[in-house]
């Protein structure tokens, strides 16, 4: 390919987080708007519109500093909306050429479109750029476009803030002249190089391009050569077009609302088949499947099924999804369904010839799914103690194969058996001088014979989750003479009593 055959249009959108947010919020377009990033209370401005800039707001200001500008509208940065806007922009660019290179930026959007050979179809470069700009404006985005036969020249010109026009077209072989007045900032220099050039008094691409090449290489190595070529607008570029995203999605609109799940299983089976086929073509297996129903009344019902290992066994998928949906049925008639699958590596394990036969993992998954359907998702797995003084300090983790040697707790005495009540049952307690004297438990009155305690615990005082408990170990006797050994707990924050455990 000869040089003159190349032609690139660079599409550059600055303040991308703000523009992405404002695109669909027409109402506040004319107000000063800032996009905040970070976790509360430590949020700061990451992007803003020009109205906000005129007020004196700058990137990096904190929430409280922004509070001093009552007219400013505060938005929270949304990477999802940015991704969606980016997709829309790429799609828009795609209308002009199938070859687009996405140049990753944190707070701006930049893509370069290979428009060589489009002249007969879309007109000369300036007309094309104008059309592109119009399209982008129609999306609610303000952008800048630079066209050049050199890829990098197009980027540098698009980035230059000093230009007043939104479109710059550089005639062929005129790159160096166009770049000459640009500041070095458009090159995205490393800190070290920026410092060296500043020491040398090199401020523009023009002065940089005038430095003798061999001597520059002796000082900066090949990077020096690259920068000089960049400044002269002659640095070649290997174009890497964006690949179409491989997304395993299937969607089906239903002709009429469906209430019976079973009647959907056939449709679902066909969709799964398609997904599995596409995954297989990529030598992949389905790792998870998310089923989304659009329901009557506009609600969505989404369930995700994720077996222990990725699989392409359709029957297992059908069974798992069926069990899950039975446990979590949608609350209204279904209008459409969508299946989105995540892919994973196919699971093939080479077992040793003499190793014991393991239970088939898929069957275990099905069994667990059945249990989950009965007791709820959060109650299946193994209990793992947390490093916390809280009495209920444990969480449920999915079952996994232990990796290290198993440490067994050695107890040298027979511990008292205790039944923890989960959740603890509310009781009414009558006190006598701060001590429990009698209480009602499961419709029975008990008189306390011995009470040991109070055992005091409390913590998390720095959080809104602060807690405090008072526990009593109690020996009590009911009306019928039956003895009860139990643990009464008083929540000091709410001043409420609960029965926490029964001792055998």
């Amino acid at each position: 390919m000869t040089r003159s055959a190349e032609l690139y249009a660079c599409l550059y959108v600055r303040e991308f987080p703000a523009q992405a947010m404002l695109r669909l919020r027409q109402k506040i377009h004319n107000q000063p708007c800032v996009v905040m990033e970070g976790e509360p209370p430590l949020q700061y401005v990451c992007s803003l519109n020009s109205k906000a800039r005129t007020l004196g707001i700058v990137v990096g200001m904190t929430r409280v500093e922004i509070d001093a500008f009552p007219s400013a509208v505060l938005l929270t940065r949304s990477l999802k909306e940015e991704a969606a806007t980016k997709a829309v922009l790429l799609e828009c660019a795609g209308m002009f050429s199938p070859r687009i290179e996405d140049v990753k930026q944190d707070r701006s959007f930049l893509c370069v479109i290979d428009i060589a050979g489009t002249e007969t179809l879309l007109g000369p470069p300036n007309i094309l750029a104008q059309k592109l700009l119009t399209q982008v404006h129609a999306l609610g985005i303000r952008a800048r476009i630079a066209v050049s036969s050199n890829f990098h020249t197009a980027i540098c010109l698009a980035r230059d803030m000093s230009l007043r026009t939104a479109i710059t077209v550089v005639p062929v072989d005129n790159e160096s002249v166009a770049l000459e007045p640009l500041p070095l900032a458009v090159l995205n220099l490393s800190e070290e190089h920026a410092e060296t050039f500043s020491l040398w008094g090199i401020c523009t691409l023009g002065t940089l391009s005038e430095l003798p090449e061999k001597e520059l290489i002796a000082r900066m190595g090949q990077e020096g050569k690259r920068l000089r070529q960049l400044a002269q607008g002659v640095l070649p570029h290997l174009f890497v077009p964006v690949e179409t995203v491989f997304a395993l999605e299937e969607r089906m609109e239903l002709d009429s609302p469906v209430e019976q799940l079973d009647s959907l299983l056939f449709a679902m089976s066909v969709m799964l088949e398609q997904l599995i086929l596409r995954a297989t073509n990529h030598v992949l297996a389905l790792a998870s499947v998310t089923v989304t129903f659009s329901l009557e009344g506009g609600a969505l019902h989404t369930r995700t099924v994720r077996p222990a290992l990725p699989t392409n066994d359709k029957q297992i998928w059908i069974r798992l999804i069926h069990l899950d949906l039975e446990a979590h049925p949608p609350q209204a008639a279904i209008l459409s369904l969508m299946l989105i699958a995540e892919s994973g590596k196919t699971s093939k394990t080479q077992l040793g010839l003499f190793s014991p036969q393991l239970p088939e993992s898929m069957r275990l998954d099905v069994t667990l799914a059945r249990i989950r359907a009965i007791v709820g998702d959060d109650c299946v797995g193994r209990a793992v103690l947390q490093d916390s003084n809280r009495p209920d300090g444990f969480r449920i983790e999915p079952f996994s194969v232990p990796s290290g040697p198993i440490v067994e707790a050695i107890l040298d005495q027979t511990p008292t058996a205790m039944r923890q009540l989960r959740p603890a049952e509310a009781t009414t307690v009558i006190l006598k001088g701060q001590k429990p004297d009698a209480f009602f438990f499961r419709q029975k009155r008990y008189v306390v014979e011995h009470a040991y305690g109070p055992w005091l615990t409390g913590g998390d005082w720095w959080n809104s989750t602060l807690w405090g408990l008072e526990q009593w170990d109690v020996v009590a006797r009911g009306n019928d003479g039956a003895a009860l050994c139990c643990c009464l707990v008083r929540d000091l924050m709410r001043n409420s009593w609960r029965m926490a455990a029964l001792y055998d």
């Binding site: 002796a218 000082r219 913590g459």
Partner: protein
């Protein structure tokens, strides 16, 4: 029956991060709960005991002393079982020990010292069983709470192991000295250990004792303990988990509550009072003795001292040729020697004399300061340089019979190396266990508190940086100057619960100890073994040991210390003494500097940049008014610009009388001889003593007691008695009530802040020497002061500009001539100039610079940048670039300006390997063209400030002057000719911002331009309005009326602006 309870197991914040309250707070709480006594047992030391003791004495309760000693032989302390997720680290169990007698205390100190010093570096350390056996006598042992050996044994090996551990303790300490300890924090695990402990105690017939294992004064302080726990384990509160306390029960509890808790265990509470009664030892019974000085057999210490003093008197007073003075001096030393002999202090004086002798023989400049300068003996022994007889100083301020404490001698040494030499000499002479540095307790201050609390609350690094940088270091604390206010200003929402908690915790941990450091110069020395008196441990600096008390604690307990302090100006004077003979050919005798009119004229003009003690803005503002004409005026000058005289409203009356605007009067005619020198205004502590002696017939000792009573804010009762005595004395002398009130008022308002005359005189001597050298030998003085930075009030940039204004030629760093330090050079016309040293090239390593100088001396000047890079391989590319940037390569062949040098340096710094270098013609650059353009003035200035922090070129403001003049902006010099009250505009580079505590929130800004320094006053209101401009601008434009009173010139700012404009923006961006 309710029994009295005494808390015998409490730990303070001096258990570094394992306790949350100050010892004083513990005592305060004990007093509130009417506890008759309390014991402090901190981790592995008696760090807080001195403060605990002093506070207890003040409050009339008994302070028992002890410590929790880590003993590795008892295994690890209790941690949660391994099957529970937790992050506890393995630590040895700690044995609580209480001192019953002085022997017990001495054993405890030796025990701690033994295992601390066993470590080679600064470490916590742990004792072993043998150590306990060696030092058990006189100590009472408790079995401990969850940190103790009994709990550890019970958890790891059950009741049998627990019994064995207790039996082991009984074997070491004896059955009478072991108490089985019970703590009830309302935790389940603890209670089963208690039940086992009770059974063990019964089976071994040992007494039970209740304690609360106190870690903080009130339940609320548990939060601070949790915070410290997170800090100690380098984690944050959210992830600390089981490391944190289970509840908030480890506070000092009232008797009634403890009785309720232990009502089922007979005698556990009663035994606390019984044991407390047994513990006879208190800290005032230390048994400390200062070491004797070894003298020849024919002499006693007293006679040896007398001989040295007599020799000294002849040496000191002989050259003065004043018979009367000599006679008075002889009489004075006789009196002093008699008192020294009576008090047995001869050894102390001889030891200090010995240190001084060592320094003199090793060419180390040394001078005493402080009240020691009141003593003719110290003058004769050359410890001090002030003649107390000639200056009529009051000996009693230094030493008096009834004072009951050791005299205090501070010695100033040139900083760093030479001070270390003197310190190592003391170590060598008195042995590792005979001398040590005093501790310096590092406490949580604004910044450190902000940082560590933020970390514990889980804030990220960036926010932490921002939060801690907010904490203001300015002295004045106005009502809006709270932490909360500055947080709000910096953009944090103080109403957010986490930020609010953050702020609260930051304030609560202010001043709590964090760890132990060493005091920079305070040394304690003891007869024989210092480790009998206080535990010693390793300091983080190799070869140093440190005692567990800081200097105030040592002073409170009557332990004598010698302060070996580093004073930058001493190093400057020392350097001048070398430079002046070398370059001016004149010999200087520091003891006989002439009184010089030119020097006083300079002082009167307040032209004092760089001079010791008289260079600050406040000093400069008062110098023209005080108009010093003789040495004593300088003594007053040094003393008067202090918080004391300013708060005591002494400064203005003195200045008015000095300017003859107010008549000199005395509170009573009899006080005229006392106050005459200071024009009737009491300025010095010595005068206060003399006043009491004159009007109320106090003895010197009584007067000194009065001064100390006033000095201690809490001793109101003692003060009342003494006031009664003072008034009685004045009645006897027939002084009327109004005058009496006046005198009492004078004494009490002033004594709190007064400055000792002797100390002022010592400092004035150094101040005069620095002024003398600056006026007479500017090149030498500037060279010396630049080589000893940082010190003093001004930056090197200001010192350089000031010297240039005084006519000194200062030349920039040049690789062909500069050394590491600045040097004095001789010009062709015979004048002297100063060459900046390479130490001013920021980020240039000393070894690279020294290699450069060595190569230059060996093989001659460098002929190209490549030659420099080849001959000095230590120079890396960055250093070469730096030298090029600041113009240090401009004298190398082929270089005409800095950018030429930068171009070549970049090439020379990327040299090819040795193989290619042999055929370097292959790679030689064919073109000699140097493509870079010369730097303009602004770029050069920016390079100078960024690379060296100063410029030897013209002042940045000089380049803007025509433009400023057009705007009607005056220079600092022009202000001198403006009328008082005239409205002026000035601009300059901000060189100092101050907000003194005594100035009610006013801010003083010093601004420099090419003609001098101008002073600006900013009112608190203006500061509140333009806070950012005041604190952040490097260059300011100020408008306001001029105040020109008695030659003291200020601009009272009504409007402030940061200087902008294209060019200046560049400058202010990079300077400083």
């Amino acid at each position: 029956m309710t029994e009295r309870y005494v808390e015998l197991h409490a730990a303070s914040a001096f258990s570094f991060l394992e306790g949350a309250s100050q010892p004083e707070e513990m005592i305060e709480r004990a007093v509130k709960l009417e506890m008759p006594a309390m014991a402090l047992l901190d981790r592995n030391g008696v760090y807080g005991s001195a403060r605990f003791h002093t506070s207890a004495k003040r409050n009339g309760i008994r302070a028992h002393i002890g410590a929790e000693i880590a003993v590795s032989s008892f295994g690890s302390r209790v941690t949660p079982p391994t099957w529970l997720p937790q992050q506890h680290i393995d630590e040895p169990a700690r044995l609580p020990l209480l001192c019953e007698s002085r022997e017990g205390y001495q054993n405890l100190c030796q025990l701690i010292t033994q295992f601390k010093m066993r470590e080679k570096t600064k470490k916590e350390g742990a004792a072993i069983y043998d150590d306990l056996q060696q030092y058990a006598s006189g100590l009472v042992c408790l079995t401990g709470g969850d940190e103790g050996p009994l709990a550890a044994a019970l958890v790891n090996g059950g009741e049998e192991a627990g019994r064995k551990t207790v039996e082991q303790l009984v074997r070491v300490f004896g059955p009478k000295n072991v108490y089985v300890e019970l703590q009830r924090h309302q935790e389940r695990e603890e209670e089963w250990r208690n039940q086992a402990a009770i059974r063990i105690a019964h089976s071994l017939k040992l007494p039970l004792i209740a304690t609360n294992g106190v870690r903080y004064a009130t339940a609320y302080d548990r939060e601070v303990l949790d915070l410290f726990t997170a800090v100690r384990h380098h984690t944050n509160l959210d992830s600390a988990g089981r490391l944190l306390a289970l509840n908030s029960q480890r506070h000092v509890r009232p008797t009634q509550e403890m009785n309720m808790l232990f009502r089922d265990i007979h005698s556990a509470i009663g035994n606390t009072e019984e044991l407390s009664a047994r513990l006879k030892f208190e800290l005032n019974d230390l048994g400390y003795q200062f070491p004797p000085y070894s003298v020849p057999d024919s002499d006693t210490m007293d006679s040896f001292l007398k001989k040295r003093v007599e020799e000294g008197i002849a040496r000191r007073y002989g050259p003065k040729n004043d018979r009367g003075l000599l006679e008075r001096a002889k009489r004075q030393v006789e009196r002093e020697l008699a008192l020294i002999a009576k008090l047995g202090f001869a050894g102390y004086f001889l030891i200090v004399w010995d240190i001084v002798q060592f320094c003199k023989s090793n060419d180390i400049l040394i001078q005493g300061r402080g009240s020691a300068a009141n003593s003719a003996v110290c003058y004769a022994l050359e410890i001090t340089a002030i003649d107390p007889v000639g200056m009529e100083l009051l000996f009693e301020r230094f030493l008096s019979e009834s004072r009951g404490e050791w005299p205090d001698i501070d010695l100033d040494l040139p900083s760093e190396g030479q001070r270390e030499q003197a310190i190592q000499y003391v170590y060598q002479r008195y042995g590792e266990l005979g001398a040590a540095m005093t501790a310096n307790v590092i406490t949580y201050r604004g910044k450190s508190a902000a940082r560590e609390v933020g970390k514990a609350l889980g804030f990220d690094e960036e926010s932490l940086g921002r939060l801690s940088s907010l904490v203001s270091n300015w002295e004045w604390r106005g009502k809006t100057d709270t932490m909360a206010h500055s947080f709000h200003n910096a953009g944090f929402d103080i109403h957010h619960p986490r930020i609010a908690k953050y702020l609260e915790l930051c304030m609560r941990i202010q001043d709590l100890p964090r760890h132990l450091g060493q005091h920079s110069g305070g040394m304690v020395i003891c007869q024989g073994q210092l480790n009998h008196v206080v535990p010693l441990e390793r300091a983080s600096m190799p070869g140093r040991t440190v005692v567990q008390w800081d200097k105030e604690d040592c002073a409170d307990l009557g332990i004598i210390k010698v302060d070996l302090l580093g004073l930058g100006m001493m190093a400057v004077i020392k350097d001048c003494l070398d430079l002046i003979p070398e370059h001016y050919g004149e010999k200087i005798d520091l003891a006989q500097l002439p009184e010089d009119e030119e020097v006083y004229r300079t002082l009167q003009k307040a032209d004092t940049v760089g001079m010791f003690q008289v260079e600050s803005r406040a000093q400069m503002a008062s110098l023209p008014r005080n108009n010093p004409e003789k040495f004593y005026d300088l003594v007053v000058q040094v003393a008067i610009i202090r918080p004391g005289p300013i708060v005591g409203k002494m400064m203005h009356p003195y200045m008015r009388r000095r300017q003859k605007r107010e008549e000199i009067s005395y509170p009573h005619p009899s006080l005229e001889p006392v106050l005459k020198r200071t024009l009737g205004v009491p300025l010095f502590q010595e005068q206060l003593l003399r006043m009491a002696m004159t009007v109320a017939n106090f003895t010197g000792a009584e007067a000194e007691e009065l001064r100390r009573a006033v000095g201690m804010r809490r001793s109101w009762e003692r003060m009342k008695t003494l006031e009664g005595k003072l008034r009685a004395g004045m009645n006897a002398n027939g002084i009327d009530t109004a005058t009496q009130d006046n005198i009492v008022q004078n004494i009490s308002s002033f004594a709190l802040y007064g400055f000792p005359e002797s100390h002022a005189a010592s400092f004035a001597l150094i101040a005069y020497a620095s002024a003398y050298f600056k006026v007479k030998y500017l090149a030498a003085f500037t060279c010396a002061i630049l080589n000893n930075q940082p010190m003093g009030f001004y930056s090197s940039a200001v010192l350089v500009k000031d010297a240039q204004r005084h006519g000194l030629r200062i030349k920039p760093i040049d690789v062909q001539t500069s050394s590491w330090s600045c040097t004095v050079e001789h010009e062709h016309d015979g004048s002297l100039s100063l060459r900046m040293g390479m130490r001013y090239a920021k980020r240039l390593r000393r070894q690279s610079a020294e290699a450069l100088v060595a190569s230059r001396l060996r093989d001659g000047p460098f002929c190209s940048t490549e030659d420099l890079a080849l001959r000095v391989p230590q120079l890396d590319r960055k250093e070469l670039t730096l030298l090029a940037r600041i113009g240090a390569l401009n004298k190398v062949d082929g270089i005409t300006h800095r950018r030429d040098a930068l171009w070549q340096a970049e090439r020379a710094g990327k040299m090819e390997g040795p193989l290619l270098r042999q055929r370097s013609e292959w790679l030689q650059e064919h073109s000699d063209a140097l493509p870079l353009k010369q730097m303009n003035v602004e770029e050069r200035l920016v390079a100078d400030y960024a690379g060296t922090g100063l410029t030897t070129d013209r002042h940045p403001m000089y380049h803007r002057r025509p433009e400023l003049r057009r705007q009607g902006i005056r220079s600092a010099e022009e202000l001198r000719h403006c009328r008082d009250g005239e409205f002026v505009r000035i601009a300059g580079c901000v060189i100092a911002r101050q907000r003194p505590g005594t100035a009610k929130g006013f801010i003083f800004i010093s601004m420099e331009d090419e003609t001098g320094i101008a002073n600006v006053i900013v009112t608190p209101d203006l500061y509140d309005r333009d806070r950012l401009v005041v604190t952040r601008s490097k260059f300011l434009l100020v408008e306001g009326p001029l105040q020109n009173q008695d030659g003291v010139i200020h601009v009272k700012a009504t409007r402030l602006m940061a200087l902008s404009g294209n060019a200046l923006e560049v400058q202010s961006h990079d300077f400083h």
